[in-house]
């Protein structure tokens, strides 16, 4: 996984609360392997109409924001389905950071597994950022994970992130390697647990 320290890029506001993962990546694309180019269908039903024509009003279709690497979203961004492919779609489109007041729990967990930063700002700051970007759409925005700040224009917006996730992103750490170092503890737990909770092992069905 690629690490994340800081980013200077254009930021696209998508000011919608409860923007769920069905909107980020419609279910009909879940059959696709990631190599099929899942970034192409990011926000498919919001970016395009049923004939495949671009919806000019959708922020990511506006010329200034086509190549944005940052999305500024509303509360509960990424709620709904656990599909990790929603994160693949964002990442493969080129998005490296989402800034929003809150996230669906599963989505933000998936994001961290793939090097996508989910920065949490206050509702007021999310609105202020959106307003600033609407006013000057193509201004570069700086996201600094070390400092936990977003710089837009001359204003600094602090953000929060779980400290464990922050460390993992800064270092590009992979969970599996870390867990392997706990191999002995896992084995000890398993053996003690068999005695402690014998009922937890599935019975073999009588046929």
């Amino acid at each position: 996984m690629e690490n994340f320290t800081h980013l200077i890029a254009k930021a696209c506001p998508i000011d919608v609360a409860n923007l769920n993962t069905d909107q980020i990546l419609p279910a009909r694309y879940l059959k696709w392997p990631r190599s099929a180019g899942i970034g192409k269908v990011l926000f498919q039903d919001l970016r395009f109409d049923s004939e495949g024509r671009e919806q000019p009003d959708f922020p990511l279709n506006r010329p200034a924001w086509r190549d944005a690497k940052i999305v500024v979203g509303g509360r509960n961004f990424g709620c709904g389905s656990s599909r990790e492919a929603a994160v693949y779609a964002l990442y493969d489109y080129g998005i490296r950071c989402v800034i929003a007041p809150s996230y669906g729990d599963i989505f933000s967990g998936n994001a961290i597994q793939n090097g996508l930063l989910t920065a949490i700002v206050s509702e007021e700051d999310a609105e202020a950022l959106t307003a600033a970007l609407e006013a000057v759409p193509d201004q570069p925005v700086t996201v600094d994970l070390e400092q936990q700040t977003v710089l837009c224009g001359n204003k600094i917006y602090p953000f929060t992130i779980d400290p464990v996730r922050r460390m993992r992103l800064l270092n590009g750490w992979d969970d599996i390697a870390l867990t392997q170092s706990y191999r002995d503890q896992i084995a000890a737990f398993k053996s003690a647990d068999r005695t402690r909770r014998p009922w937890a092992t599935p019975s073999i069905p009588v046929t």
Partner: protein, 470 residues
């Protein structure tokens, strides 16, 4: 005196292998359910040339992409056929028990787990599906995970978690007849919001919850995720134990009695405290339906939809305009004036035998004014419904009687609601395009869907049940 613990604290502690200084804990996973969508994770194992570490604790189902109509083994769409084939191949390669298309126990993962007695109180259960919260109905700690975590569990049988906040949602009193778990959970989500429980483990408590059958509790916990919760649970009790007795994978004989002894301790200590508390009065819950594009947009059936012109908050007004426009509903319209085009009864939320009975009780001797599909949650439920003659009631009413699967809840097997069509649905998400691009979804209980079918519009089921057995 020892520390007072909630049910969730007890479940958490029982699974903690290690805790890091930063607070994240490594937890043991008792059951891992996989399905067609888990292919990303199996690919990662292949990349690393590693095997599933605990195949006996891993169970597969074919549910998301399986056909519900026509012959099950000839899937015309090659991409869909490949999805079903992949789960067969991946589970075979790793020696994982699969409840596949040929298996008489096949069904929706969140129906099969409890039905087979794989889901038990006190277990930690994960699955790459957000509705894994369903299994909390039996007093399990169950939550949905993404593909990277699925791969991690397959390789290590563990998962890293940050301890969620503890939230108790109490529904006191007694609900009126015909009011179901679906009405209760929609009322809860409308009350706390679609992110009202973000970062939380919910324990559902109170007399109205205690009174729910196991099927009802499964519906309730299923939709915890629609309030943003990590998981939802109900403390196990006699309802749970009698549901589990004799299930194929549950402990048997003296082992079962010993297990019940252990499971009986899985409840919140009196006076233990929660980080958040919400209390609702069950007596005030009416038959509830959604009108908008988020599960929090739920109202009693006798209400009018909101009018954005009367909404002082500009952001909220903008949301209301967008949702009403998508749904094709006029501002302030009476819910019972909304005409429907189609009905769907099924999904991991509402496809169990009691759900089918409740819908059949309304439909018996009546005709549906719109087309619709009924898809039982599992093949055993389908057979039981047929033994009870419920399939005849649905067919006589003009509805299709299908095989089990996720079907029209998410539409990826091809069971879609057409663009612009309005569907009264027993599912869990009324998101834009969830049942198909441009589809309009109204969530409600099976009895309310049956009422909508009979009247051709959103309707109060209560008068239709006058003189009938609930």
């Amino acid at each position: 005196m020892s520390e007072l613990l909630t049910l969730f604290d007890k479940l958490w502690t029982a699974h903690e292998i290690a805790r890091r200084d930063d607070g994240d804990a490594l937890l043991w996973v008792d059951r891992h359910y996989v399905h067609e969508g888990s292919f990303h994770a199996f690919s990662r194992l292949k990349e690393r040339s590693v095997s599933v570490v605990e195949p006996c604790l891993t169970f597969g189902v074919a549910d998301h992409y399986v056909p519900t109509r026509g012959p099950r083994h000839t899937i015309a769409n090659p991409e869909i056929a490949r999805m079903v084939r992949q789960v067969e191949e991946n589970t075979a390669e790793h020696h994982i028990q699969l409840f596949g298309l040929d298996d008489p126990r096949q069904g929706i993962v969140h129906v099969v787990g409890p039905e087979q007695g794989l889901t038990l109180p006190g277990l930690l259960i994960v699955c790459g599906d957000s509705h894994t919260s369903t299994h909390g109905a039996l007093g399990a700690y169950a939550f949905g995970i993404g593909a990277s975590e699925v791969a991690h569990v397959l390789m290590t049988q563990t998962i890293w978690q940050k301890k969620p906040k503890r939230m108790r949602v109490t529904v006191d009193g007694k609900v009126a007849p015909v009011i179901t778990a679906k009405d209760i959970v929609l009322a809860i989500i409308a009350h706390i919001g679609a992110d009202g429980a973000t970062g939380c483990a919910i324990e559902f408590a109170g007399s109205a919850i205690r009174d729910l059958s196991m099927d009802g509790r499964l519906t309730l916990c299923n939709m915890s995720i629609e309030a943003g919760a990590r998981c939802g649970m109900v403390a196990p009790d006699e309802t749970t134990f009698s549901y589990l007795r004799g299930r194929p994978y549950a402990p048997r004989g003296a082992d079962f009695e010993r297990a019940v002894e252990a499971w009986s301790k899985l409840s919140t200590d009196p006076d233990a405290t929660f980080d958040l508390e919400t209390i609702l009065d069950g007596a005030h819950i009416a038959p509830t339906v959604t009108w908008g594009t988020s599960p929090e947009d739920a109202l009693p059936i006798n209400a009018h939809v909101p009018d954005p012109a009367r909404e002082p908050d500009e952001d909220r007004a903008r949301y209301l305009r967008g949702a009403l426009e998508y749904m094709g509903i006029a501002p302030g319209q009476k819910l019972t004036d909304v005409e429907i085009d189609r009905v769907f009864i099924g999904s991991c939320t509402n496809s169990r035998i009691e759900d089918l009975r409740a819908a059949a009780a309304v439909l018996a001797g009546r005709t549906s004014k719109v087309p619709g599909l009924v898809s039982a949650g599992s093949s055993p439920i389908k057979r039981q419904a047929e033994q009870e003659g419920l399939d005849r009631i649905f067919r006589d009413a003009g509805l299709e009687w299908g095989e089990s699967g996720c079907s029209m809840c998410v539409g990826i097997n091809g069971d879609l609601v057409a663009s612009g069509e309005r569907c009264a649905s027993t599912t869990n998400r009324n998101f834009r395009g969830r049942q198909g691009p441009g589809a309009r979804t109204h969530l409600m209980s099976p009895a309310m869907v049956a009422a909508a079918a009979v009247t051709g519009r959103l309707a109060d089921v209560r008068p239709l049940m006058a003189g009938r057995k609930v």
